[in-house]
Symmetry: C2
Subunit: 133 residues, 2 copies
DNA sequence: ACGTTATATACCTTGACAGGTATATTCTCG
DNA sequence: CGAGAATATACCTGTCAAGGTATATAACGT
């Protein structure tokens, strides 16, 4: 029975609601297992198991503090997710632009009160940083 | 037998690799089921089932073209995901900044060649749009 | 050294999901 | 109308993940 090391993808890891809760908790500060257990009202083994998954996928790191383990966030996997989103961001900005052009045309042909129409914003966020992974 | 409408979370939907592949395919243009089937080399029922999940979760919409159904992307669920990422982005930008400050201090105390050190960038992207969702 | 606290792991059970095959449905065209 | 194309659905099955209980491991304080 050859053991295949199960490398869970970023997506599978964050598919689990409790794991997302843990991540959201850690975004403000590091926490011990017991603290997570209490704040999220999960059983201790459950917390430990989710932390293991998160750790093996690189979402969190831990340091030892006597009997406690302090877990803290590691951004890389979520940055990967962010990178994955890039093409879709381009997609939806393109669509917002199209909609705006459409509204602009409507406005031109239908000269109504001509009140508030938000100004177009610059070259659509996610500037040249991010995305390059 | 009361049917509970299973509303899959954005995260569960994109946890499936084939579904992500479909989304990536649709980002460039709309496609029929048959086209997706061929391009991704999946069975037709598999494609239909994934499309059903994607449709019910709002990731895609379809229009009828004779016997075909053309599926196209709908950005909202992915925008939700983008919004979920916001706090974590703040987290990792903060850390990049901390790292830079650290490096700056190192540089000060160790006056070496003093060559290229990138300038700090402004208030960390994802300007006041997005996120408010 | 001992009891206690904190965390990890083993084992088991249950439920969900993804894929396959077969079939239903719907449209087109001759 | 009938054959065939395109898509959806039903049913079945294997796999796997998540949670629970019990237990192991390790470090603390006395």
């Amino acid at each position: 029975m050859v053991y295949i090391r199960k490398v869970e993808s970023v997506f599978e890891v964050i598919a689990e609601p409790n794991r997302r809760a843990i991540l959201s908790l850690l975004v403000s500060s590091q926490q011990s297992v017991g603290e997570i257990e209490r704040e999220l009202r999960m059983s201790q083994p459950a917390v430990s198991k989710h932390l293991r998954v998160l750790r093996e996928a690189g979402f969190v790191e831990s340091t030892v503090d006597a009997q406690r383990r302090l877990y803290r966030l590691n951004p890389e996997p979520l940055q990967e997710l962010d990178a994955w989103l890039a093409p879709f961001r381009r997609f939806w900005s393109a669509h917002v632009d199209a909609l705006e052009r459409h509204l602009d045309r409507l406005e031109q042909t239908t000269p109504t009160k001509r009140k508030t129409r938000k100004r177009r914003r610059g070259p659509n966020r996610e500037g040249k940083n991010g995305e390059t992974k």
